[in-house]
């Protein structure tokens, strides 16, 4: 029996007069890794922003953990257990790694040393770099900080916006290994990705977004074998 953690029901999101998300419905169940695929400018990031409350939908309903959060601001949603690893990581460059991690725990108050320990266990490299400025880290390490920062709020759902962006092929692989690892630890995830191959290899289910509409959804294994999708995104 699966319990839905995050649901978007018939959501319409606008940027000014532009209709971005059109009647979009999406569910992430407890403990599930869901990927959201799609080309450029099809509304992937907007879906995440809507889920996080950075943009508010005109119509529709968003629930998280059984609670209606449609009119709740980002701060409340983060407190309830949604955390994000933003596109391009968006670290706070002139602040140290430790400060960046502590910021992740902002909604919980002062950072819990146990949470910090957990992040350092996951990314031992960061422990040595605690006092280094985040902006001086390499791309792969910045990714670790961004994920660690998100984990500091003890999220029930992790939103990841293009985790492969700007990373070398090997780091992309490592990045997805890490995602799979987090998933095994029981964290639910919604991963937005252009790299459909990679995303489908770790996901349980997937949605395909095209110009603001869900055009395809299903099990990751089914999607990976889908003829049309393969032609459109997998380049085979």
């Amino acid at each position: 029996m699966t319990t839905p953690l995050l649901t978007l029901e018939n959501v319409d999101t606008y940027y000014g007069a532009i209709h971005i998300l059109q009647n979009l419905s999406l569910t992430v169940n407890e403990g599930e890794l869901v990927c959201l695929l799609g080309g450029n400018a099809c509304g992937k990031s907007t879906t995440l922003k809507t889920a996080l409350g950075m943009v508010s939908p005109k119509n529709g309903k968003i629930t998280f953990a059984g609670e209606d959060v449609t009119n709740k601001n980002t701060s409340v949603r983060v407190k309830l257990g949604i955390a994000v690893v933003p596109e391009n990581r968006r670290l706070f460059g002139p602040m140290t790694v430790l400060e960046n991690l502590k910021i992740g725990a902002y909604v919980r108050g002062e950072a819990d040393p146990a949470d910090l320990e957990r992040v350092f266990e996951l990314f031992p490299k960061l422990k040595d770099r605690q006092s280094q400025l985040a902006g001086t880290l390499s791309g792969g390490e910045q990714q670790m900080v961004a994920v660690g920062r998100a984990l500091m709020s003890r999220p029930r759902l992790l939103l990841m916006d293009e985790p492969s962006m700007g990373l070398s092929p090997r780091l992309v692989e490592q990045s997805f290994e890490m995602i799979a690892g987090l998933h095994q630890q029981g964290i639910s995830m919604l991963v937005v990705e252009q790299n459909a191959n990679m995303a489908l290899s770790v996901a349980d289910r997937g949605y395909v977004l095209q110009t603001g509409r869900i055009v395809l959804e299903g099990k990751a294994s089914d999607l990976a074998g889908h003829e049309e999708l393969r032609r459109a995104y997998l380049g085979r």
Binding site: L52, M54, N73, T74, S75, R77, V78, K79, V84, P86, N88, R89, R90, L91, F92, G93, P94, M95, E99, K102, I103, G104, Y106, V107, G109, E110, A111, Q132, L133, A134, G135, T136, L137, S138, G140, E141, Q142, R149, S153, R170
Partner: protein
């Protein structure tokens, strides 16, 4: 395919660049190296302790009222700088209405403690009430500003600042409905004289020394409070708002609320400063709360390093003591030459080169002097210009033409042209350009600028800021900006 081996046996595929981060940190050479070294080695506690000892010693030992007044003004200015550092340094809000809160505090104190409205509130009531009111005013101003950033915020706050000034100026003849006569509330541009002195814990403040001690306590408390806040989650959150408001919001930080908080804290500090300043001055005048002061506070924050608390202290010291020093010709001469020597030393990148440059400057001066006397050019008699110890020492070396204004102006234009070219010149050209620029700078100073101290003061401060912003954009003690790529 051949593999190349490097001396350190770098592995292929590992993140060597970052792995060797510590090793590849280079130390600055020469004078800037010493500054960096001291900055890193002297612990903050020791620095603050030294500062406290100096401040207490100054109050205990100095009885010169003029010096104490400067020190008290410096303390007010320092508190203001710390306040602006919260708004602009921590939260990154370009608040150009900041001095209006200072002015509001001063005027509010004047109105509640003078014969103007015949109100004489006790200090323990008026000051807290004014601080709270100013904080509330900060909240009101932050309401329309809370969704604005950068230049948009600057324009809106500038508007509020100017509105305050206009309100004060025009509130000297207000006719209330139902009354015949107009009421003078603020004294308009004449200001409000004859304010009550502070009276706290049964003690009436009489001299500037009393206020000096009060200010010392206020500044110390402010320093402790702000340093602590900087290290808490609110301090961290402010910095994220400054760096990347959108990312900050996605972490669940209420960006707008934090901006409003910064406004409120800044306004409260400025309001408190205003009350003390008004009491010290014993009067308030509106022109003290306009652009010139705002520029000075901003210069202090930027000079010291936006966001850095020690930087604010340094900036406040420089920006309030410097104009006073530059008033006196001898001091300004010494200061100018010191800065020039330091600049040449810094640009020389090494003591050998510095020695070479210095001797070249001396040679150049002598050469000009010898040539001019060989051509028997008219000069100004030394007795009329060599007054201070510095110029007395310089008279054997420096040529002082008869027509100081003309030659001074020509040299000044030449100096600016040379400096402008210096930054884009090739290394080889720079080598010869530096001593030449140094010599002409001394010439221009002695021949022309010394005669007009008022213009010179502004010029020097402006030039210092320009040079600093080129050499060290983050300010003296500010952190280098690191962008996430």
């Amino acid at each position: 395919m051949t593999e190349q081996t490097t001396p350190e046996n770098l592995g292929i595929g590992t993140d060597e660049w970052v792995a060797q981060h510590e090793k590849r940190l280079s130390r600055r050479a020469g004078l800037l190296g010493i500054v960096d070294f001291l900055n890193q080695k002297v612990s903050p506690l020791v620095r603050y302790l030294l500062l406290a000892i100096f401040a207490v010693g100054f109050g205990a030992l100095v009885h010169n009222l003029y010096l104490l007044r400067i020190a008290a003004n410096l303390a007010v200015f320092l508190a203001l700088t710390l306040g602006l550092n919260v708004v602009m340094g921590f939260a990154g809000l370009l608040d150009l209405g900041f001095v209006a809160f200072f002015g509001f505090g001063a005027y509010a104190y004047a109105l509640t403690s003078s014969a103007q409205l015949n109100q004489h509130w006790p200090t323990y009531l008026s000051v807290p009430a004014i601080v709270i009111t100013t904080a509330f005013l900060g909240y009101l101003v932050s309401l329309p500003s809370r969704r604005l950033f950068g230049d948009y915020l600057a324009i809106v706050t500038l508007f509020f600042g100017q509105v305050f000034i206009q309100l004060i100026i025009s509130s000297d003849s207000i006719t209330f409905p139902g009354h015949e006569d107009s009421v003078d509330i603020t004294g308009g541009s004449n200001g409000i004289p004859g304010l009550d002195q502070f009276k706290l814990f049964g003690y009436t403040f009489k001299t500037i020394t009393d206020y000096y001690w009060l200010l010392l306590v206020v500044v110390a408390l402010l320093l402790v409070a702000i340093t602590r806040v900087d290290r808490t989650r609110v301090g961290r959150a402010w910095r994220t708002v400054r760096e990347d408001p959108l990312a900050s919001q996605s972490m669940g930080i209420k960006v707008n609320n934090l901006k409003m908080l910064a406004f409120i804290v800044g306004a409260a500090i400025a309001g408190l400063c205003g009350t003390i300043y008004a009491a010290i001055q014993n009067a308030v005048f509106i022109n003290g709360f306009d652009m010139p002061l705002l520029t000075l506070i901003y210069a202090a924050v930027i000079l010291g390093g936006s966001g850095s608390i020690p930087g604010s202290i340094l900036g406040a010291f420089v920006m309030s003591v410097l104009p006073e020093i530059l008033r006196v010709q001898n001091y300004s001469e010494i200061l100018f030459l010191t800065v020039l020597i330091l600049a040449v030393a810094a640009l020389s990148k090494g003591w050998k080169r510095f020695g070479f440059n210095a001797s070249l400057v001396i040679l150049l001066g002598l050469l000009v002097k010898v040539i001019s006397s060989a051509l028997s050019l008219a000069t100004t008699p030394t007795s009329t210009w060599a007054v201070g110890p510095v110029s007395k020492a310089l008279k054997y070396w420096l040529l002082m033409p008869a027509n100081r204004i003309l030659w001074g102006n020509i040299a000044f234009v030449l100096l600016i042209a040379l400096i402008a070219n210096y930054s884009i010149a090739k290394e080889r050209v720079k080598f010869y350009l530096l001593p030449l620029i140094a010599f002409i700078a001394i010439f221009v100073w002695e021949v022309r600028l010394v005669i007009e101290p008022n213009t010179t003061r502004q010029l020097i401060i402006g030039m210092m800021l320009v040079v600093l912003m080129i050499v060290r954009p983050q300010g003296f003690l500010g952190k280098t900006r690191v962008e996430v790529l």
